[in-house]
C-alpha cells in the first residue's frame, strides 16, 4: 500500500516535467500549427544550460537553493530566447509552406542542436553535483521519498495556474487564444502575427527549457534527451488534445502514472504501455481528452494539390538509362560503390512505399520506419529462431510488416490530420520499444547479427541484381497501383471523402489497402536491407529513420510519381557525402535540410516539374 503511494507520488513528480514540455508544445502547435520536432532539443538545451548556469552560480555564491532556482529560471529564459530566435530566423519564412515542410525544417534544427550541444558540452553525460539539501528525503507513510520530487509535484499545478492567468487575464493571452482559433482574422484586426508567433515560441521554448532544467538533478544532461522526450511529449499533447493546455495537464498525469505503475507491473514493456494508452484514448476520443475537431486554422488558402501526371517520355528514357547503368555497375564499380548502390535501391523502395500513402493516399505517416524495421526483423527473427534460408527470410519480411500493417492500419485510417500522423508515430514507437526492450526476442540494443544471404547471393554483384529485381520491381508495381483504378479511387477518397463515398467508394477501406500495400513494400525493403547489412538493430525503427523516409518523399515532391526516386537518390547521396567528408555531419545535414526547405518548398521534383512545364508546357 505504502509502496503504491510512493509510486503514485513518483508519477506525480514526473508528470510535472512532462507537463512543462507538453504545454509548451501544445501552445506552439495551437497558434502556429507547427509540429515542432525541435521542442525536444529545447528541452535538452534546458538541461545543459542549467548544468552550466547553476554550477557557475554555485561557484560564485555557494551551493544555495535560491541560486539553484535562479539558475533553472535563467536557463529557461535562455532557451526561450533561442526558441524565439529559431522562429525569427527560420520558421517565419515557411509558415506558408505545407505543414510537413515545416516539420522537416524543425527536424533540421534537431540535427543542428545535437551537434552544437556535442561541440559545446562533449559526449559525456553531465551530472549536477548534488548538495545535501538536494539529496534530502522526507518520510511519506513510512517510506523515504526524495524532497526534491515532492517539490516537483507542485511545480506542474503552479505552472498550470500561471498559464491560466496568462491566457485569461492578459492581452497577450487573449490574442494567443484568438489566434489559435483564427489567426487570419486576428491579423485583419491589426495584430502583428509575427510578434505574436515569436512570443508564443519564446513561451513554449522556455517551458521546454524549464522542463529540461528541473529534471537535471535526477537525470544527467545527455545527448539522447531530445528524441527520448519528443515522442513522449507528442503522446501527451495528442492524448490531451492538440492546443489544449488543461488537456496536456491531464494527459501528463495519466501518462506519468501509467509509466510509474508500468515499471512495477510490466517492467519490460513500459514504453509499449504508454503508446497503447495513447492508441486507446484516440480510438475513444479521436481528438484527445480535451481537444476539439480541428477547425482548419484558416491559414491563407489558394493552393490546390495538382493531379499526379504520368512521367514525360524523356523521364522514362532517363529512368531506363539509370537502371541499365545500375545493373551494369559490377562491370565498372568497386565493392563500396556496389554497397552504396544496394542501399540506394532499398531506400528508393522505402521512399516509394511511403509516397503511395502520402501522395495518392493523403495519409501522412510519421512512423513508416516501423514497417521497414518489421521487415528487417521478420527476416532476422526467421534466421535467429528458425534458421531459415534467405529466400524464406525475404518472404517473412513483407509478411510480418504486412501483418502489422493490417493491425495498425485498421486504427490509423480512422483518424485524420495530425492525430493520424501522431498515431503512426506511436505505433512505430511501440515496435521500436519492443525491439529495444524485449531483449530475449530481439537482442535489444545489440540487435541480431549473422543475417547473411544464401551462398549464391553472397557475391556483391548478384546481390545487387537481386535487390534491383525485388526493390525496383516492387517500386514499379507501386507505380502501377497509382495508375490503376485503385489509385484513382484512392485519390478520389483523398480529395473528397464525402463525394467518394457518394459514388460508392469506401474511403477508410481504400486507405487501409494502401496502408497495407505500403507496409508490405517497406517490409521488402527492410528485408533486403537486413541481408545487405548482415544485421538488424532497433535504430532501423527509430524516429530518425522515419524522418529519413519523409525527407526522401518530400525532397522529391509528394505530387510527382518520380519524386520518391529523385528524393531517395538526393537524400542518400547527400547523407553519404556529408558522412564521409564533414566531421559535424549531423549539423551539416540539418543545415542542408533547412536550406532545401527554404529553397524548394514544393520539393525538388516538384520544382523541376514546374520549371519544365513553364518551359515546354504541361505533359499530356
Amino acid at each position: 500500500m505504502d509502496f503504491l503511494l510512493v509510486q503514485f507520488l513518483t508519477g506525480l513528480a514526473n508528470a510535472s516535467a512532462l507537463f512543462l514540455i507538453a504545454s509548451g508544445l501544445t501552445v506552439i502547435f495551437g497558434v502556429t500549427r507547427v509540429v515542432n520536432f525541435a521542442h525536444g532539443s529545447f528541452y535538452m538545451l534546458g538541461a545543459y544550460l542549467a548544468w552550466t548556469i547553476v554550477r557557475a552560480l554555485w561557484e560564485w555564491g555557494g551551493r544555495e537553493p535560491w541560486l539553484f532556482v535562479s539558475g533553472l529560471l535563467l536557463a529557461a529564459l535562455a532557451v526561450g530566447a533561442i526558441g524565439a530566435l529559431v522562429e525569427m530566423i527560420l520558421l517565419r519564412r515557411i509558415y506558408r509552406a505545407p505543414e510537413l515542410f515545416q516539420l522537416l525544417a524543425t527536424f533540421g534544427v534537431v540535427l543542428i542542436v545535437q551537434d552544437v550541444t556535442l561541440a559545446l558540452w562533449g559526449p559525456e553525460d553531465l551530472p549536477l553535483p548534488r548538495p545535501r539539501w538536494l539529496r534530502a528525503f522526507v518520510e511519506v507513510a513510512g517510506e523515504r521519498f526524495p524532497l526534491y520530487d515532492l517539490i516537483l509535484i507542485f511545480v506542474g499545478p503552479v505552472v498550470l495556474g500561471l498559464l491560466w492567468l496568462l491566457f485569461q487575464r492578459t492581452r497577450f493571452g487573449i490574442l494567443v487564444r484568438a489566434a489559435t482559433q483564427d489567426r487570419e482574422m486576428v491579423a485583419a484586426l491589426g495584430v502583428d502575427q509575427r510578434a505574436l508567433f515569436t512570443g508564443v515560441f519564446f513561451l513554449g521554448s522556455a517551458l521546454a527549457g524549464l522542463g529540461g532544467a528541473i529534471v537535471l538533478p535526477s537525470q544527467n544532461a545527455n545527448l539522447q534527451m531530445d528524441l527520448a522526450i519528443i515522442a513522449e511529449a507528442f503522446v501527451v499533447v495528442v492524448v490531451g488534445g492538440m492546443g489544449s493546455v488543461p488537456g496536456a495537464f491531464l494527459a501528463s498525469l495519466l501518462i506519468a502514472e501509467v509509466q510509474a505503475f508500468g515499471i512495477v507491473l510490466v517492467p519490460k514493456a513500459t514504453l509499449v504501455l504508454v503508446f497503447l494508452v495513447m492508441a486507446a484514448v484516440l480510438m475513444v476520443r479521436p481528438y484527445g481528452l480535451l481537444g476539439r475537431p480541428q477547425a482548419h486554422a484558416r491559414a491563407p488558402t489558394g493552393s490546390v494539390a495538382p493531379v499526379i501526371r504520368a512521367a514525360p517520355g524523356v523521364l522514362k528514357i532517363a529512368g531506363a538509362i539509370a537502371l541499365a547503368l545500375a545493373a551494369a555497375a559490377p562491370l565498372y564499380a568497386g565493392p563500396y560503390a556496389l554497397t552504396v548502390l544496394i542501399e540506394l535501391v532499398v531506400f528508393i523502395l522505402f521512399a516509394a512505399s511511403l509516397h503511395l500513402l502520402m501522395g495518392p493516399g493523403g495519409v501522412v505517416s510519421f512512423g513508416h520506419a516501423a514497417y521497414f524495421g518489421l521487415g528487417a526483423y521478420g527476416a532476422a527473427l526467421g534466421v535467429r529462431f528458425l534458421a531459415v534460408p534467405m529466400e524464406a527470410g525475404l518472404v517473412l519480411a513483407p509478411l510480418l510488416a504486412g501483418l502489422f500493417g493490417v493491425v495498425f492500419g485498421w486504427f490509423v485510417v480512422r483518424l485524420s490530420g495530425v492525430y493520424l500522423a501522431m498515431l503512426t508515430l506511436a505505433f512505430a514507437q511501440i515496435v521500436w520499444a519492443a525491439a529495444f526492450q524485449w531483449v530475449e526476442l530481439t537482442g535489444g540494443d545489440n540487435g541480431i547479427l549473422g543475417v547473411w544471404p544464401s551462398p549464391w547471393a553472397r557475391d556483391k554483384a548478384l546481390f545487387l541484381w537481386l535487390a534491383l529485381v525485388l526493390c525496383l520491381g516492387a517500386t514499379l508495381l507501386l507505380r502501377r497501383a497509382i495508375y490503376a483504378p485503385f489509385g484513382y479511387a484512392l485519390r478520389a477518397a483523398r480529395d473528397s471523402e464525402l463525394r467518394a463515398e457518394a459514388i460508392g467508394l469506401d474511403a477508410a477501406r481504400l486507405r487501409l489497402v494502401a496502408f497495407v500495400l505500403a507496409a508490405v513494400a517497406a517490409g521488402i525493403a527492410g528485408g533486403v536491407y537486413a541481408y545487405a547489412k548482415g544485421s538488424v538493430f532497433p535504430t532501423y525503427i527509430s524516429i530518425p529513420k522515419s524522418v529519413d523516409a519523409l525527407l526522401m518523399v518530400l525532397l522529391g515532391g509528394v505530387q510527382t510519381v518520380s519524386g520518391p526516386i529523385v528524393g531517395a537518390v538526393a537524400f542518400h547521396g547527400l547523407f553519404l557525402t556529408l558522412l564521409q567528408w564533414v566531421e559535424w555531419w549531423r549539423a551539416a545535414l540539418g543545415l542542408a535540410i533547412v536550406a532545401l526547405v527554404l529553397a524548394f518548398p514544393e520539393g525538388i521534383a516538384g520544382f523541376v516539374q514546374r520549371r519544365w512545364e513553364a518551359r515546354f508546357g504541361a505533359a499530356s
Binding site: 492581452r171 487573449i174 484568438a178 482559433q181 483564427d182 487570419e184 491579423a187 485583419a188
Partner: protein, 234 residues
C-alpha cells in the same frame, strides 16, 4: 479616402477581379451590389489584404498605396474589416472578442469603448461574459462589427451585414450603420438586400464578374430598371 484602380485578383489561376476601379469619398456610405459570386467579398478582402492584389493593382488609402501590404499593417492604417462569415472567436467571451480588436485611434478622436458599443448594440450589453460560440447569428453579427470598431477605423468594410438576419435585427443594423457614419467613419459595404442598401447607403456601385458595371445614387438606380434586371437578382 479610398481610390482603387486596376485591381486584379486571382484564386489560383481563376481571374476574379478584372481591372476593378472604385472610389469612396470621405464620410460617405457606399454599397457594393452584385449577385452571388460577383466578386464583392473578394474586393473587400483585397482591400484589407487577405487576398493579395496582383502586381500592377493600385489601392490608395488616405493618399497611401496599400496594395500588397500585410493585413495587420493595412488595419493599423485605419481600415476595419468585418467578414461575411463573421468569424467570431467562439472560445472567447464578448469582452475578450472586443479586446482582440482594441487599438487606440490614430488621431485624437474619441475612441470606441465597450460602453459606447453596448449603447449601439444593446443586446451585447446583456452577455458580456458569454462565449462567442453560444450567441445567435444576429448577436454574432453585432459582435463582429463592434469588435472591428474597437480598432477605431476611419474606413469600415462590411461584407453583407444583413445576410441571414431577422427583420428586427436588420433594422438595428441599419441604425448602427447610421450611427457609425455620424461618428465620422467612412463605410464601404457589400449587400444583396436592395432595400437595406437603399436605407443605409448614399451611393451604390454594381459589380458583376469582377468589374464595376454601374455607379450612381439610388434615385438613378430606381430610374434604371434595366440595370437592376441585368445585374441584380430582383
Amino acid at each position: 479616402m479610398l481610390e482603387i484602380a486596376h485591381l486584379n485578383a486571382f484564386y489560383g489561376r481563376a481571374h476574379i477581379l478584372r481591372d476593378l476601379a472604385l472610389t469612396v469619398a470621405r464620410g460617405e456610405v457606399l454599397v457594393l451590389l452584385g449577385r452571388n459570386g460577383a466578386g464583392k467579398s473578394t474586393t473587400l478582402k483585397s482591400i484589407i489584404g487577405l487576398v493579395r492584389p496582383a502586381p500592377g493593382s493600385s489601392i490608395r488609402f488616405a493618399g497611401r498605396e496599400i496594395a500588397g501590404l500585410a493585413p495587420h499593417l493595412i488595419a493599423r492604417l485605419g481600415i476595419g474589416y468585418v467578414p461575411e462569415e463573421r468569424r467570431i472567436f467562439t472560445d472567447l467571451t464578448v469582452m475578450e472578442n472586443l479586446e482582440v480588436g482594441r487599438r487606440p485611434p490614430p488621431d485624437g478622436r474619441e475612441p470606441w469603448t465597450p460602453e459606447r458599443l453596448f449603447a449601439l448594440f444593446p443586446n451585447l450589453a446583456r452577455m458580456k461574459d458569454r462565449p462567442g460560440g453560444r450567441m445567435s447569428g444576429g448577436e454574432q453579427q453585432m459582435l463582429t462589427i463592434a469588435r472591428t470598431l474597437m480598432g477605431n477605423p476611419t474606413l469600415l468594410l462590411l461584407d453583407e451585414p444583413s445576410e441571414g438576419l431577422a427583420p428586427v435585427i436588420v433594422e438595428q443594423m441599419a441604425e448602427a450603420i447610421a450611427a457609425v457614419k455620424r461618428a465620422g467613419v467612412t463605410v464601404l459595404l457589400s449587400e444583396q438586400n436592395l432595400h437595406f442598401a437603399a436605407r443605409v447607403a448614399d451611393r451604390a456601385a454594381i459589380i458583376e464578374k469582377g468589374v464595376i458595371r454601374w455607379q450612381g445614387s439610388f434615385a438613378d438606380l430606381d430610374a434604371a430598371p434595366e440595370v437592376k434586371a441585368q445585374y441584380l437578382s430582383v
